[in-house]
Symmetry: C2
Subunit: 758 residues, 2 copies
Amino acid sequence: MRLDAEHKVTGAARFTADLPVPEAIAARVVRSPYPHARVVRVDVSRAAALPGVVAVLTRDDLPPAPYFGVAYRDQPIVATDRVRFVGEPVSAVAAVDTPTADAACQLIDVEYRPLPDLPTVEAAIAPGAPVLHETLEPSGLFGDLGNLSPVPQTNICHHAQFVQGDVEQGLAEADLVFEDRFLVPAVAPLPLEPHAVVAHWMGDGVVVWSSTQHPFPVAQDLARLFGLPLSRVRVIAPPVGGGFGMKAYSKLEPLAVALARKAGRPVRLILDGEEVFQLLTRHAAVCTVKVGVRRDGTLVARRYTVYLDTGAYADTGPRVANKVALRALGPYRTPHARVDVYCVYTTKVPAGSMRGFGGPQVAWATERQMDLVAHRLGLDPLEVRRRNVVRRGEVVRPGKPPMDCEPLEMLERAADLIGWGKPLPRGRGRGLAFGFKDGGGSRTVSTAVVRLHADGSATVSSGSVEIGQGASTILRQIVSLELGVPLQQVTLSPPDTAAVPYDQATSMSRTTVSMGLAVLEAARDVLAQVREFAAEWWGVPVETVEAGGGEVRAGARRATYAEVVAGAFGMPAGEVIGRGYVRTRPGEHDRSFWEMGVGAAEVEVDPETGAVRVVRYVSVVDAGKAINRDLCEGQDEGAAVQGLGHALFEALRFEGGHLLNGSLLEYRVPLAEDVPEEFRSEVVEHGGGPGPYGAKGVAEGGIVAVAPAVGNAVQAATGVAVTELPLTPENLWRMMRARAAQTRHGTVEAPPRPQWCG
Amino acid sequence: MRLDAEHKVTGAARFTADLPVPEAIAARVVRSPYPHARVVRVDVSRAAALPGVVAVLTRDDLPPAPYFGVAYRDQPIVATDRVRFVGEPVSAVAAVDTPTADAACQLIDVEYRPLPDLPTVEAAIAPGAPVLHETLEPSGLFGDLGNLSPVPQTNICHHAQFVQGDVEQGLAEADLVFEDRFLVPAVAPLPLEPHAVVAHWMGDGVVVWSSTQHPFPVAQDLARLFGLPLSRVRVIAPPVGGGFGMKAYSKLEPLAVALARKAGRPVRLILDGEEVFQLLTRHAAVCTVKVGVRRDGTLVARRYTVYLDTGAYADTGPRVANKVALRALGPYRTPHARVDVYCVYTTKVPAGSMRGFGGPQVAWATERQMDLVAHRLGLDPLEVRRRNVVRRGEVVRPGKPPMDCEPLEMLERAADLIGWGKPLPRGRGRGLAFGFKDGGGSRTVSTAVVRLHADGSATVSSGSVEIGQGASTILRQIVSLELGVPLQQVTLSPPDTAAVPYDQATSMSRTTVSMGLAVLEAARDVLAQVREFAAEWWGVPVETVEAGGGEVRAGARRATYAEVVAGAFGMPAGEVIGRGYVRTRPGEHDRSFWEMGVGAAEVEVDPETGAVRVVRYVSVVDAGKAINRDLCEGQDEGAAVQGLGHALFEALRFEGGHLLNGSLLEYRVPLAEDVPEEFRSEVVEHGGGPGPYGAKGVAEGGIVAVAPAVGNAVQAATGVAVTELPLTPENLWRMMRARAAQTRHGTVEAPPRPQWCG
């Protein structure tokens, strides 16, 4: 059950690009053709003279400090002194229509002086490489980003670390040590709806409609950039047609606002099918992992070295690096460990947050390596996982909450469902992997208002954006449950910074937990006031009054909410306003949860072509408490299918900083036909979440395990120790051929087909 | 200073008719040509077949109980069994454009069977007159309308009474008794912006944009009519281009919503320049007053009999009648009094609330009679007023607050300013009158939210509508004052029932007082929480923390609001949500105030033509505390100029139920050239208001005194005992001629020109 379904499937929902804004004109962006160059001159005279052109924005029109970014204020609204990636905005045109704006873009003469490009992490960290950002100003956007550790005068904008025990000692003490290197390419988040912004200066403030996941942080950025109080920046977030992190934080909003300011007219900026590839990617990662184990598969020590390619601007890169450091070890006990993650600038499209936030990249390494180790030891990967996985209540990471669900139980359930150990025909194999990540953010801020109307119906005011995840349903459910008011009588006030209270973000699988708690608190605040009002009205002590289930009771007295409101306000009028704050109080500990899942795949690999068919896929995720099972399953299924794309075919291909497949003609995401024939999401409820009724978020977990589960199954099917994504036919065929050659030449001993492969 | 001035004068403000609503189609209304008729048949087949017509609404499309109204649910969305005034909606068309809708209206065949019309109060109360409404269902909209007293099986829908002492005994004991009859015609409220509504059904609810003063009561009506919870009815009130009461409560909204429901498309209904005359008028009144006085001018007894012509539907008529009963005696002590007010249905355009709510009509009687009595006794009208007027602290009406300002001081000031007692050339005269009314409503409900943002700026969420009165400025000022945040950093969330909390009404001069108090309470609630947050952050007792003036202090500690918010939420994020409720608690007494003013006019009357020129006009009003002097003066001046129109030339002329001058070609309101050469509004601050800082509302008071002040001046100038409005040249010329004839024939003794006339 989701309340916005009809709205969406009938086409009644209006997304940002659909909004009618009178006198709005079209904006188009001039983008850099160079991966790295000095911008010598921007001459817009010919463009400005074109009839129909209202304004041309250049670096000369920017506010004094025109830089923004999530970790660092490193990204200019349009390029100032230099460009750092192909597709970087250099100028923008506002004109009466899009063709005119496009034509004007062609008339803008930009003189560039090319600089050496840094197309790879290797090039960027090589000694003597040009430094892309000489100075780095932390954005200070959120408190938990305070731990930025750039390596000065390099392109390493952040070095994240996780250390426990003594990794060198651990490796020395291990029975066996293996080292593997795992590669994950950049991929495109590609929501169905392109990023769209309408910016409209009104009076002495600005109104922005944006397909954003973060209306409040965007408002904070715009306020700072344009010297406005927050109260004069209004960011409205219509329903978003998929975000996946790509629409997190400021993206096009500063440019649209600057252009609208110059134009003196509202402007509408909608990315086309190529530009969405020039906005944000998911970090490519190179993970080298040295693992020391006992012969029985028990982990003793692990040392990770991870490089994340964050492109030309850091965006959330440093936070992704922190998450990789935190999540690298997976849900496995490891007495000695060290994780070093380097977030590196290159001259490519910026990489930022995408569903899973580094989790999928590092899980590819960790969960593949569990299987590699098992293979090498001749053990069942299921058994190796059983042996190492943390149990409920066990400390997972220092300072983080202890494990809040039953990973082992979930593992067994996934194994059961995929038929682990049962016979399989040749060419097929099964794989298992944990999806392990923290969710919700260590610090979290959500605020909410619940209004109980004079007729007993209610409205929730929340800054959470409906990005397809079902926020607009779940928050109403919580109010309905708390007040005992039918769901159809509870509505949601749409996200609008002028009208609803602050929310930090619609990301990090946090909405049900963090906003859910704020809404819950607000609903309970309503009930507390209803009790007080009834006590006043009836002249009884408030302690004797109960409220809930749609009514108020004291002794033999009964009244509906509507009657109590009328009694309190002296007429059938008024309303009760409840507020809820979720915040991290001074000294309060980490508020995150463990977003746990297990993926299990059965694949069939065509020995001739290397084509992988995922015959069955099972995802077991813990929702803590599934307030809305349909939504949990929908999120989990969507995440798993998205993960299949990353496992099987998605990769952005760059050549010297130039993106080769940056269009919807050349890059595809999973289609309905890519969904496995047998596809099952099993949502379990272990009740340990910090959210309402023990709920957790489940928005991202389902993606994490997919690639390694499929990769593990591919190894089981083929014997090929795949370490690089995606598992395209071509890639796999090459690896199968190489392995066959090695086996023939005796380089690798072909292991006996183990019993656990079925 | 008003913050929306630039927005308005540059044309940037968007009114309801300007709003872009995609796919909205045009609505036009078919109206009755008969003042009273049975509707036999409505055949829309030809209209429905016209290309471009999307829907035709008839009585068959209405919800089961299709009646609405402020006092009674007596008005159908479109006529059901009969029509009761010329212009009553009978059907409506939604079509692709207005010309098509108009053409379709012409094709709707309505068969009427005419019934006897009741064009006057006399006809309506005559024995055997047909009863226009056989049954009357009280709307119960607000608690204080509970005292409805219809006279069964008559056209008197309400009989309001005020009694003190024993009026017959008082009249018997008086030295002299006079009886006079005063006539006030119906006038048109005529705001610049016509009434406009856009209705849009979305999902299982409806969104309505309306040029309304009452978004919340309209939502309540729509919820009831269409069987929706309040939370699914969203009424948005864009800036309103003048309301004056005409846009109070539901007007066109039910029709637009019903039509949109049938059309399955948003519809836009905008009244044209004739239709605005068919929506609402101000009650015509006939007041007969018998007054008993002592020879020194002291009032002993007064008996009022007032008939209000409320037209075909009661609208606010009964409440206007209650106000007439309450206000009739003016601010004068009268030991024995009885006021009977009859609100009478006729077959004319409904009459409802307009600026002053019965106050202007009855003040014409009361304040003119004070002068008539003074003339008859040979006394100075100023002295007669001095002798009778209540003083501060004195009981004015039982159960109401005592007098909360200094009427005598205001009277003297107005007299001084108009030059009372100074010589005047022939043909000129001066007049004084009290403007006396209660304001704010005896019961009142406003709720508000104030949000303190993470940067220390603030947003007010209020349901008060900006109708030109300056609500959007004053509410921000109150927050700015309370928090000590610069005014430019305080913004206002626009009225939208989905987004801002409940407000009862933008009327009754109540916004600064009632919403002002709610906003003040919300701002103080913010400060209280800021103190708590700071105490928690600093680890000090909350009692030691002070907040205000933009900062928070405890001992030597200092922090900005922004710092405290960041401290409380653990990052530079979050916000503090303050709420304020203004309500009438169980058992709580009357919350109104006295909206007092004095008008003083100097006129010159052309003896040849009867043309009255208002040479000087002075209005002295008590604002209690003028939070914004410009706004107070603006309201007072606007009210006075509107009152001049009613004094000098405005009147709706009916003939047998047909309005003869119902268009902007035939009916005019005051222009800039009608403003007196010397025109002064003096706002005094007697500090006795119940609003913030002692404030009162001043929106209506200025209109009440105008007509009698001018009428009194006209009598002083001409000796003519004018009792009927308006004082057009033609009317006055006739009266002057009649008086001259009477004087010649000795019927009337020409009084000596008294000394106080100057």
